[in-house]
Symmetry: C2
Subunit: 166 residues, 2 copies
DNA sequence: CAAACTACGTCAGCCTTGTTGACATTGTAA
DNA sequence: TTACAATGTCAACAAGGCTGACGTAGTTTG
């Protein structure tokens, strides 16, 4: 790492000004990142919190409530408020755990999967456009830096499990 | 999409799975991105909203309220609640505009500048570590993708003005 | 088996930060 | 002078965080 780029400019990318640029880039880009799903959710009585729950339930069907809590990093009271509306509206269903009956394994219903698709189509469209505009090299770098920016515990979640692994 | 396979490296980075990875990377990385300043702010009676205001006032001293509104993308009522506490606590001061006396040009006081430094030191430390771990090439890609992800209007803000330009 | 622990749900109350809508004040510009 | 612009402010509301306390099943352990 930190090998030189052209002659001696090696560490110029670590100047405070470059870092500030990176910080602001995160701020402005995150707004774009959430803008399209937010537009879909507004008026539906759902918010970003619902989107996050739906996303991760889709990504790992059969996930327990507590592993979802771990990924989202919120309290169970907060998550529960969201999950309750998703149950009531028939977007998510909870199946009692097979080996451990205390667990609720979370699954999207067809209706939930359909909303998930709408949301992630919108979000992916922007991501795809950005990826395409930037090119594969840039995408590689993008992911590398983001990964290095995560807390170690979150990095584990990120690289983590499809199902669950006790 | 999902056209040709390997031949060239061509489009494999645009698969839905790669895009999902990128989406989750944004989610987890943004948490890390805000974690350190949040820790400093907690207990100080300030939140992320105060941090953002302080950051942009520092970046462009003499900024008017309405251009700050434009950058932050919130309502004036919401911003005002934040600015009021910053005035009251003597972190920010407003000077009446020279040519247009309706304007309030915002500046950090010494006290404000000192909090700004604490916050941005913390945030830069993480960013610097990530940059260093990833290397200059990756950083270049990181910025390129983020920039492509912004809404055009935000991109203008991002690349934008130091002072203001009427 | 009984006791302790775990997974989950829920009630109640609080905080920050966003929103609308309405209205006032002070300048500037036509 | 009249219209518009920049700012502040009051009030009410919503989303989505938080803490603390308590309840109920089900599992594990001594």
């Amino acid at each position: 790492m930190a090998d030189n780029a052209s002659g001696s400019d090696s560490l110029l990318f670590l100047t405070d000004d470059q870092l500030r640029k990176g910080i602001e880039a995160m701020f402005f880009a995150y707004r774009g990142f959430t803008a399209d799903p937010d537009r879909i959710l507004e008026g539906l009585d759902y918010g970003r919190a619902h989107h996050r729950a739906i996303h991760f339930i889709h990504r790992a069907p059969g996930m327990t409530v507590s592993s979802l809590l771990g990924i989202l990093g919120v309290t169970k009271q907060s998550l529960n408020r969201v999950l309750r509306t998703l149950f009531d509206d028939g977007l998510v269903e909870a199946r009692v755990g097979k080996t451990d009956k205390r667990e609720r394994r979370l699954h999207l219903t067809d209706k939930g999967a359909s909303l998930e698709r709408a949301l992630s189509d919108a979000q992916r469209a922007r991501m795809r456009a950005a990826y395409r505009a930037a090119g594969p090299q840039a995408v590689q770098g993008f992911r590398t830096v983001l990964e290095a920016m995560m807390d170690p515990e979150m990095r584990r979640q990120y690289q983590g499990l499809r199902e669950d692994s006790p």
